[in-house]
């Protein structure tokens, strides 16, 4: 355990939007090669936590810290966090009309490559390079010529998120309800993609309501959030228990 590098540490995090506290002291430590699942009801603070880690400007940190590889990232812009290897897979990926998916992906990848001191890819090199990655999420090439998420189905949007994850090769991926709204085939593709991209040097956080994603990807830890706090941490069994008995079970524990 001690030889493992720590990737993300959330320390006593209290945060919210102006006038409303959403997180009330979150603590979380994530090491390389770990998969964590965060579960909980709507409004428990799961998505807020993921957005704050990615640097969403609407939220403010009241107290506490977020450390990425032992460095406080509070003052970093979202793009700097991305360049350093923090990836947020969105619950609702945004449509950006007119911007070609491939142009967007190339700019994004080059920003990360620049941070890693790798040569940036021109459009020809990029087109070649992306082809093998498309296979991970079973996407057709014509996806790349469409506007970013423009007119994509729910499943296509989520696969586009996983494609971005594949391209950016992040150190930590936070996937916010990547499984919601997916049919069983898309879920398998997405889950397989996530597993393929997870490595012993990276970490993954899966935010989910449901057990079904966790049947495909086995987490090392399962956390349950309620009222902006992690109220219980366990292993895969906890998720199964939750599926069977619901969150009420924990609410009684909590009292």
């Amino acid at each position: 355990m001690s030889s493992k590098q720590i990737i993300l540490e959330v320390k006593d995090l209290v945060a919210g939007i102006p006038g409303e506290r959403i997180l009330n002291g979150v603590n979380l430590k994530i090491y390389e090669n770990e998969i964590h699942a965060i579960m909980g009801r709507n409004g428990s603070g799961k998505s807020t936590l993921s957005k704050i880690i990615a640097g969403h400007p609407s939220y403010e940190i009241i107290s506490g810290k977020i450390l990425f590889r032992n460095i406080d990232i509070n003052s970093l812009e979202p793009e700097e966090r991305s360049q350093k290897g923090i990836f947020l897979g969105f619950q609702y990926p945004i449509e950006i009309g007119g911007v070609r998916n491939i142009d967007f992906l190339r700019v994004s990848v080059n920003a990360r490559r620049k941070e890693l001191n790798q040569a940036e890819l021109d459009s020809f090199e990029f087109e070649e390079w992306i082809e093998e990655k498309l296979d991970i999420v079973k996407m057709e090439k014509n996806f790349l010529d469409r506007g970013v998420n423009e007119g994509f189905s729910g499943g296509e949007k989520k696969r586009n998120e996983i494609l971005q994850m594949a391209l950016l090769e992040p150190i930590i991926s936070i996937l916010d309800e990547t499984d919601s709204g997916l049919d069983i085939d898309s879920l398998r593709i997405v889950a397989k993609g996530i597993k393929t991209l997870h490595s012993n040097k990276t970490a993954t956080i899966l935010i989910t309501h449901y057990q079904r994603l966790l049947n495909e990807i086995k987490p090392d830890y399962v956390h349950v959030m309620k009222d902006g706090k992690i109220i219980k941490t366990g292993n895969k069994e906890l998720a199964i228990q939750l599926e069977e008995s619901g969150y009420e079970m924990l609410e009684t524990i909590n009292k």
Binding site: I94, N110, K114
Partner: protein, 480 residues
Amino acid sequence: MTQNSAVSQILEKSYEYGFLTEIESEKIPKGINESVIKLISAKKKEPKFLLDFRLKAYSKWKNMKEPKWADLGYPDINYQDIIYYSAPKDIDKKNSLDEVDPEILKTFDKLGIPLNEQKRLSNVAVDAVFDSVSVATTFKEKLAEDGVIFCSISEAVQKYPEIIKKYLGKVVPINDNFFAALNSAVFSDGSFVLIPKGVTCPMELSSYFRINSGDTGQFERTLIIAEEKSSVSYLEGCTAPMFDTNTLHAAVVELIALDDASIKYSTVQNWYSGDKNGIGGIYNFVTKRGLCKGKRSKISWSQVETGSSITWKYPSCILKGDSSIGEFYSVALTNNKQIADTGTKMLHIGKNTKSTIISKGISAGHSKNSYRGLVHIGSESSGAKNYSQCDSLLIGDNAEANTYPYIHSQRMNASIEHEASTSKISEDQLFYLKSRGISSEEAVSMMVSGFCRDVFNKLPMEFASEADSLLELKLEGTIG
């Protein structure tokens, strides 16, 4: 060069064309009256018909009022405080480029429009207009081999007076509107193009307008005639130094397309737009109109309007010939305190005429950006079709976007489609791109060029990338 550094370089540049060329000019005294008009006409050694044209326009103009319907909110212009003619000294038409003042050649070099033979663009013929006069036209001889005439309008008046007499003021009558009348009275120079029957112009034609002196109005006049079965693509660019006073630019452009002829007219307008607080900048009050006179003729306007403190401009098409086609593709970007009121008029007169309007307005800062357009289907215009799409994009909370589409149809069976949208660059879109490693500036310019893509695709290749980087430049400081 990487995308990132390209953007930051562009963002640092601000208005790179704001320099002033120190040059001796010959200016006439301020103010407008009959003797000033006679003086301009005499300086240009014009034939009598043109002097009469000017004087008639002046007498109409005196009794006209500035249009106020666009609610542009600028202070009254003192027309007696403007110089109506300013020319670099000793300009009397040069025979070769070697005789043009090196300072002027340097100016155009700096603007990215080199005129001398070694450096000039290989596939674009350029007419360079400096203040009130055309200083050089490139590739004239080569064009002449195909019978294409491309020269300054002053030269055309001397060499082809009959053609000028036949067409000047026929598309935009001298009393068409206040600014057109003023232009007709005092116009100084501009470009003339004639594409003879059956000729496809072998290269892009381009005029580059440079306002250098601060107290001089620029009143250029352009006339393009495409004879039967001919075609031409023409582009114009404009810049000016930064002054803290406002300079008036009132141009008139007339296009005439005969049977089966096609004219594509593109503009990248980047006059000085004033500073952050709206001090200084060009008042750009322009009348542009094309007449599709012949059957199956086509006139296509594309414009990228990013400069000027005020733009008032409606490039229009009179679709007189049966089965003629009019197009208007526009991107107008305003920032800080800029105002743009722009759009088009499509007047369907002939049968089976078609028009397409695509307008993209982007408003940032405290600016105001309006689309104003008219689609008119006349009583004889059976089978007329129009498609209009007007999209506005707001950046920030203080900018304004308006759409004023007017549709008049005198026929029941005309097909008129109008689509409009207003959107805003949302914080969520911005966050999405930022969370993928893309900076705010780059994210905004990416979204803006995405928004404009339909129109950029219509620009000549050479201009499309220029237009793109121009928008990035103009968006400096709109976020954060």
